[in-house]
Symmetry: C2
Subunit: 418 residues, 2 copies
């Protein structure tokens, strides 16, 4: 029997690891709790009614269907028993492994306020995106039916917490919906008078970008009438319909969370050293200290051997680590020493609404329309599957020409909103 | 103040009525509990992972945004107080009307077995379609993980109750998924060995079609390995994982309901005569006996003045009735007598999987590939919105060339399946 390599998670890191092992003389099992790989960088476009879930998701089985050594299973891993080399799955199943690549990712952290989670949903899964889409579209619908002006104003106030790329992109997309897509469709409210507030408690939005690009991003947000609050106290309280930050108390119908990150609890079950966010502090070769047959990659790993600061939780890091972990597994099987990982940074980008983006390619900085074209091109090329590329290209072209949002559906009304 | 016309429901009938009143000197309010109009004839394609919800839904506001006399409100009508000409809405709201067009539609009836509803979901809303899609795709995933052969066989048995167009189309699409789309993606199960059973308790499937077309449909279903059971006892019991019909007891992981229809309870609140399914028996001019300012159209109405048998619950009937009710409202306002409704039947069609359909255009009968092309053409033309037409055309072309299902997403796992 060839050695059994199990990969937990089919995000960017796990999927790349599985692909890298596709022709190796191994048995590969790829586990995920969803049946689809998700292109997370475009998740905010599902949340803001530009793309359908299917446009940014691919069935994992189809992606690896030609790898005859690979089996995909829909399963939720509950814990890792590293001492016995066994995974504990849902349905009381177990699974033995010879080598393990853990790419279980991360979810939201609410700065020690878990009670905020229901009031300020975050954006990590398709379900999150659909819930946010429902909440945002319902805000306009409820405002049109509201009986007094204060209530209408509250419903049309949207707060986004966190000024990283996700927060900036959400704010820009919300401003676009309000100012362009919905105008002329309501008879009582004027969606263009919606208030969109972006709150970053750090000194600046987009902290990983160089200052000239941040300035360009701020200008783009201003043009879209987004209020940007940087470097204050951050959000100090969230109550139903209310947000407190700096010295303000704001009546807001919708609060969205794009701030902290908490690693998957699977990291803790390894018994390895963790950082404050619960991420596994890996060796230079991505293995876990004391467990040479286990590799941790992507958002669940802290890798601090390049310049001291940990690598950011972005797709290229996860993908390069996935390929590298796969190669190290193959080296172990051939009794070769593993090699240290080295990240190659090709760039960093964020888009701010219609026709504007910032892109940092090291020496080359792009902003405005040119930045946006670069952003479009790279994201379409990186999507998994030809069908999704064509579909997204069509949706974007259509949206650009018509100012419309194609996916303005409120679903789940019956089950969730009564 | 011009007279106030309220339309309940933005399905085929209600939307058509609203459009017909778009230029009249009236105030029109269009109420729906969803924010989208749904192209129900293609709903089974969402349930079987061919189309995204957004492809067959259009925001109601956008469809009528140019009608300046029309306001759209997201509201659930709880009851009609015809004596005071007032509607009771959710959120304890009320709304007065001068004229009312009731197009509230229908949901499923389970032949006196309401407890079957959770075991055998029906297909009326987008939420229904997403729940069915989830259940069908999960069946294959669970079978791949199952530990014994009997369980695998049970999970890969799909029963469809009801041999009307919806049941036939669901059965054909399920057979296609199993036989083409999923082959080569599993390592333990063979999806092509799935068993698909269609049960009709009447003497024949597609009872509204002429016999030669039924024969063609049966042949197409046979080619797809669908077992068709007609004219027996029908389903006599549904229990978890089990279906009883005729003299069979079948272990089935998935049971889908495409049979009975129950009218919206709003009909009963009118105090008018109802048929057994709860539908309102309307006057020849579509008004309610004793309430000349209220018109009932579409699936909620029984209209038996043409040949004795009631008109079927299909989109063209609802649309023609919507236009007619709108015209009768205008006549009442101008103090003219209303006119009786007359339905013009342009045809009747159903599709059976890839490249086969039956179409009954009165003297012209089409079946097989030609029938399918006619079906494609007519459905794409009838879709609301240019964007949806292009998107569906692309999805169908893609599916035809690749045998793939583009929307194979299991969502809602976190909330519903744990």
């Amino acid at each position: 029997m060839p050695p059994h390599v199990v990969i937990i998670g089919a995000g960017f890191g796990g999927l790349e690891a599985a692909r890298a092992l596709g022709r190796a003389p191994l048995r590969v099992t790829l586990l995920d709790r969803n049946n689809h790989h998700l292109f997370q960088p475009l998740l905010y476009q599902v949340a803001t009614a530009s793309l359908s879930p299917a446009d940014i998701a691919s069935p994992i089985r189809r992606v690896v269907s030609r790898q005859l050594n690979t089996q995909v299973l829909l399963a939720d891993v509950k814990a890792i028993d590293a001492a016995h080399q066994v995974l504990l799955l849902d349905e009381d199943d177990e699974m033995a492994y010879d080598y393990l690549i853990v790419a279980a990712g991360a979810s939201h952290a609410y700065f020690g306020h878990p009670e905020w989670a229901v009031l300020a949903p975050g954006l990590k899964t398709l379900e999150d995106a659909l819930a946010i889409r429902r909440q945002v579209l319902l805000a306009f619908e409820k405002a049109e039916r509201a009986h007094d002006e204060a209530e209408r104003k509250r419903l049309l106030t949207f707060v986004i917490v966190g000024g990283g790329p996700t927060g900036v992109e959400l704010a820009g997309a919300l401003a676009e919906i309000a100012h362009y897509s919905l105008s002329d469709e309501f008879r009582t409210i004027e969606p263009e008078h919606s208030r969109i507030v972006l709150i970053e408690r750090g000194p600046t939005i987009l902290p990983t970008f160089p200052e000239p690009l941040r300035r360009a991003a701020r200008k783009s947000l201003e043009r879209l009438d987004v209020e940007v609050h940087e470097g204050g106290t951050g959000v100090t309280a969230i109550e139903p319909g209310l947000v407190k930050f700096d010295n303000h108390t704001l009546a807001a119908g919708t609060v969205l969370w794009a701030a902290g990150v908490a690693a998957s609890p699977l990291g803790a079950s390894l018994g390895a050293p963790l950082d404050r966010a619960g991420r596994v502090i890996v060796n230079p070769d991505l293995s876990v200290p004391g467990l040479q047959e286990i590799f941790v990659i992507g958002d669940l790993a802290v890798f601090s051997y390049q310049g001291g600061t940990p690598l950011p939780g972005v797709a290229p890091v996860a993908q390069q680590q996935g390929r590298h972990a796969a190669r190290n597994v193959e080296r172990l099987i051939r009794s070769l020493p593993t090699r240290p990982f080295h990240y190659v940074n090709y760039g960093n980008m964020a888009t701010i609404g219609r026709g504007s983006a910032v892109a940092d390619f090291g020496r080359v900085h792009l902003s405005g329309f040119i930045g946006w074209l670069a952003w479009l091109f790279i994201h379409i090329m990186k999507l998994v599957g030809f069908r999704n590329r064509v579909a997204v290209f069509f949706e974007w072209g259509w949206a650009y020409l018509t100012y419309q949002r194609s996916v303005r559906l409120i679903t789940g009304l019956g089950t969730k909103e009564g």
